[in-house]
């Protein structure tokens, strides 16, 4: 007999999957709840740029009930190509663009029984930390509409936080999964670089881009990761062999009567970075609380010096911009995307199509990238940045010889006020804790800790490459001890 479950929309994905598989809930009934919430809140928080036809979603949901994702509605960040809905990357350049193919993560999600419910809002071409999309409208933080949702995957984080979907995909080039997850009080996981195929993920910076999930819990992220993490011959940089599944480890932890997962774990931390002047004291305090909790469970903390990290931000903005300047060259107004009216000649066609189609942050990075790659500057910028990247990787390799994981705050501050930051460099500083994992290709998770004045705060655990399970398991261990990840903002509780 079906049972009554309160606040179905607030339940973690894995809980809903179990309930549907056990036939205690019907897939379409659960999906309908999410659809109603999307309908009610999307005009306010602008999490979605495009929505699938509800009747179709419900129909597929019922059909997929027995599959691993149980027909639950899944949102895709709008840089994953979908044949069913436009893929705009949050840019006027690709307004209305229909991809002729589905991204691999979109296929894998559908094969596992997830139902595409919509495409989430984002910073244009994933460049930004606020999701204040100038062309399609800014994403509002569900905890406080005056605050930004973070970015670039702000729509995905906000959609999960506002319980509009149980899980949304996101992408992370310098923190774009983790930072909005921290700002919105949800769990966001960036897997090891190469875990999930990049086929169909519109490229920002190819050597840094990594897809991953944003969900309520680390357990949900592990469950989803196992479904979409698979080799793909269409992406040369995707790992050739399937990584060992993470979810069984989580299940084993759940089955233990006296979970002692922090025992014998050595966790590194970065004292120099915790003393950074840009770090909000409350974040420092939350870090210490988190550390204390883990220590009380048997973890040993070890201070680390990673000198190369001082250059991480500079190296990141050089490398990411360089790759972006090249990756975005294909948007030339000729074969797809925005084309200016009545071009006078070829140069005019290029110039005006790109001038009109791209927003200012994208232009800034294309210019930066073009500059650092140009003759005479290449050695001083791009080549140096590559060296720094190697040093950072080496520093991490050395660090992981003596620690299992590294704990840092995800962001130096809580979500800032909409329109507050105008200096791009100040925005870039948002990424100081998240960027190193991208440069070194590490798995990293942001999980919610105790909020402050109604605003969520996230902590980050990073692991060595391919130690994704360890990262997810420790975040899960923390979530077994705490309830912060289950807190939801007061959005439409009446529904």
């Amino acid at each position: 007999m079906p049972i009554t479950i309160v606040d179905i929309h607030k339940q973690p994905l894995t809980t809903l999957v179990d309930l549907i598989h056990q036939q205690k809930l019907q897939a379409s009934e659960v999906t309908d709840i999410f659809l109603r919430r999307i309908k009610a809140f999307n005009s306010d928080n602008k999490s979605f740029l495009a929505l699938a036809e509800p009747a179709q979603v419900l129909e597929k949901s019922a059909l997929n009930a027995k599959l691993p994702l149980a027909g639950l509605p899944i949102a895709q960040k709008d840089l994953f190509c979908t044949q069913q809905l436009p893929t705009t990357c949050g840019s006027k350049m690709l307004e209305g663009f229909m991809s002729p193919f589905d991204a691999d993560i979109v296929c894998a999600t559908a094969e596992a029984g997830g139902v595409l419910v919509g495409k989430t809002n984002m910073d244009e071409f994933a460049m930004g930390s606020t999701s204040e999309n100038l062309y399609f409208g800014a994403v509002a933080n569900p905890w406080n509409p005056d605050r930004v949702a973070g970015g670039s995957s702000g729509g995905s984080a906000a959609a999960v936080a506002a319980s509009m979907v149980p899980l949304a995909t996101a992408s992370d080039t310098g923190g774009s999964i983790r930072q909005p997850a921290a700002f919105c009080g949800v769990t966001g996981f960036k897997p090891t670089y190469g875990s999930i195929s990049r086929w169909g993920m519109v490229a920002y910076a190819s050597s840094l881009d990594q897809a991953g999930p944003i969900a309520r819990t680390a357990q949900d992220c592990a469950y989803y990761l196992d479904l979409v993490n698979r080799p793909d011959s269409k992406d040369s940089t995707c790992a050739k062999h399937t990584r060992t599944a993470s979810y069984p480890t989580i299940q084993a932890m759940n089955a233990e009567t006296k979970p002692q997962y922090f025992n014998n774990k050595t966790i590194g931390f970065l004292p120099t970075w915790l003393a950074h002047e840009g770090l909000d004291p409350i974040i420092g305090q939350r870090f210490n609380d988190t550390k204390a909790l883990m220590e009380s469970q048997g973890a040993v903390f070890k201070p680390l010096e990673l000198p190369s990290l001082f250059y991480a931000l500079a190296a990141y903005y050089i490398l990411a911009s360089a790759e972006a300047s090249s990756n975005l060259s294909r948007f030339d107004g000729i074969r797809f995307g925005h084309q200016c009216q009545n071009p006078k000649n070829l140069v005019d066609l290029y110039t005006r199509s790109r001038q009109e189609g791209f927003g200012s942050e994208v232009k800034r990075r294309i210019l930066t990238g073009t500059f650092v790659l140009s003759e005479g500057f290449f050695d001083a910028y791009y080549k140096q940045a590559q060296k720094i990247r190697r040093l950072i990787k080496n520093d991490f390799d050395k660090a992981f010889a003596s620690v299992d994981l590294i704990l840092t705050p995800t962001t130096p501050t809580t979500a800032f006020t909409t329109g507050q930051v105008s200096d791009p460099v100040e925005v870039y500083l948002q990424d100081i804790f998240t960027i190193p994992a991208n440069l070194a290709g590490l798995p990293a998770i942001s999980f919610p800790v105790e909020p402050h004045q109604g605003l969520p705060i996230g902590m980050q655990l990073m692991g060595q490459r391919w130690q994704d399970t360890q990262v997810l398991a420790l975040a899960h261990a923390y979530q077994m001890q705490t309830q912060w990840h289950l807190a939801t903002p007061e959005v439409g509780e009446a529904l």
Binding site: M201, R330, L373, S374
Partner: protein
């Protein structure tokens, strides 16, 4: 002043892979515009390249054939520039670490063995094509060629004449066909080259300022363009001018080169490592396997033809100059008695190649296949037909499409072309002819023996007419002489 021309070449070889360098699109020409494209070739958002291993293998094969150093790890780089036929806004090429470095090639030219050192060869994708003047007020873009695999061979500036450059290119042309890595069809652009030309006073070490002539796509144009360009340099320098480093285009109609862009206008290509691709790894196993399966190349084949088959240097050179001719020859030889090698070579070199040229046919499209040549030669060898009849059969076959593999014997049979080798019937014809021509017989008898030999020609002619050319010439000659000597 005496001048020396210095030339370096960049040869673009289009690889005959099934699919493109980074996509599964068909690598094929002559189809409708944009028919052979996938979203990858069109540079669609979210697409990624996957390296075609066949192209890598072909590159390694060529490197091994040229004794070059194969890079066990090489990389792709992006060359960034905007052009409508370049869908991604960058070309994926190899800048920093190419598939092979060094290597050399030897060939005979200007009565000397020339040795040309190679700098390197790199893999890259071709661009598409802009089409002008087909659609009113618009330019069209055909991306069928976009993503086609190219191997660019870059030489050291080792050439001292246009003839050497041309001979080198012919050697490369032959080599890529021997290795079956390209069809080498220059008219389709499968093989094209850029020439870097400079001149310097003889004895001077330092190189002069060079110009680059782009996109030369025939042996004749290469030779003409280089000759013209060198002459232009000398003229400019001798008139007190200086050469500008620039890129030029050759106009074969006017036989001149024209400036395309100067060094100052050159693009800043902003090369950097292609982050969408992993390094190309060439294993020792692959190298060993390719070495083992390396086909017999031109020089080795030529030597074998001369030493084991007893062919002349000239015949062996022509037969091996093109793998298709060599393959044809060997296929015919395989169906024949080895002692017929020379005869087969002669048929191919004189009748087949000449006949194909006359009918404007490529050897690959020849209606006469090696089996036909083998049959003809065998029938001559066994006195079934005369060489003269064989020639007429050959000419007839050349104009008949869709021949049966047994066509030679069928024609001999149907048209009754078998030689008359029966002495009594030949003797009958001889009697008839001698009786009909008493004055010629008397003249023959009266003549001195040296003259007599020539005079048999008349009777042979008459007899061949009577036998429609089918009489076995040797036997006929013997019988005729006997009869004439016996005659009253």
């Amino acid at each position: 002043m005496q001048w020396e021309t210095v030339i370096g070449l960049e040869v673009h070889v289009q690889l005959a892979t099934n699919s493109k360098l980074f996509s599964t699109s068909c690598n094929h020409f002559g189809d409708l515009p944009n028919e052979n494209t996938t979203p990858i070739d069109l540079g669609f958002p979210g697409t990624l390249p996957s390296v075609n291993q066949e192209a890598v293998t072909m590159g390694v094969k060529l490197g091994l054939a040229l004794n070059a150093e194969i890079a066990t790890e090489s990389y792709f780089d992006r060359k960034n520039y905007f052009y409508p036929d370049l869908p991604k806004g960058y070309q994926v090429t190899q800048m920093e670490k190419p598939i092979f470095s060094g290597g050399k090639i030897q060939f005979e030219c200007e009565s000397k063995i020339q040795t040309i050192q190679l700098h390197h060869a790199h893999l890259e994708e071709d661009a598409g094509k802009s089409i002008h003047g087909v659609i009113a007020d618009h330019s069209g873009i055909d991306l069928n060629r976009a993503g086609t695999p190219l191997l660019e061979i870059v030489t050291e500036p080792d050439f001292r004449s246009a003839a050497q450059a041309c001979a080198f290119l012919k050697k490369i042309h032959s080599l890529v066909q021997y290795l079956k890595i390209s069809d080498g069809d220059m008219s389709q652009g499968s093989l094209r080259c850029d020439a870097n030309v400079s001149v310097r006073p003889i004895g001077q070490q330092a190189l002069g300022t060079r110009t680059e002539i782009k996109n030369l796509n025939s042996f004749r144009f290469i030779e003409q363009a280089i000759q013209h360009e060198a002459a232009r340099h000398i003229h400019v320098l001798e008139s007190g001018g200086t050469i500008l480093q620039e890129t030029r285009l050759f106009d074969p109609d006017k036989n001149e080169t024209r400036s395309m862009r100067s060094k100052e206008d050159a693009n800043d290509y902003r090369y950097f490592r292609e982050p969408d691709l992993l390094p190309i790894i060439v294993t020792q196993e692959l190298i060993a396997q390719l070495k083992e399966t390396m086909p017999e190349l031109e020089d080795a084949k030529k030597a074998r033809y001369m030493q084991t088959l007893g062919l002349s240097d000239y015949d062996a050179s022509i037969l091996t100059s093109d793998i298709q001719i060599a393959d044809y020859f060997e296929a015919a030889l395989a169906l024949s008695d080895p002692s017929n090698a020379k005869a087969i070579a002669n048929w191919i070199l004189s009748d087949l190649l000449g006949g194909l040229k006359k009918h404007d046919l490529a050897i690959g499209n020849s209606p006469i296949v090696p089996a036909h040549v083998a049959q003809l030669v065998a029938r001559i060898q066994h006195d079934v037909i005369s060489s003269k009849i064989a020639k007429s059969i050959f000419e007839a076959l050349l104009q008949t499409p869709n021949l049966d593999s047994n066509a030679v014997d069928q024609i001999i049979e149907h048209q009754g072309l078998k030689q008359v080798t029966d002495s009594s019937s030949l003797q009958g014809f001889i009697e008839e002819v001698l009786e009909a021509n008493p004055s010629q017989v008397s003249a023959f008898k009266a003549a001195v023996p040296e003259k007599q030999q020539k005079m048999t020609g008349f009777f042979i002619g008459q007899l061949m007419k009577k036998t429609q050319g089918k009489a076995n010439p040797k036997l006929l000659n013997e019988l005729l002489i006997q009869s004439l000597n016996r005659a009253e």
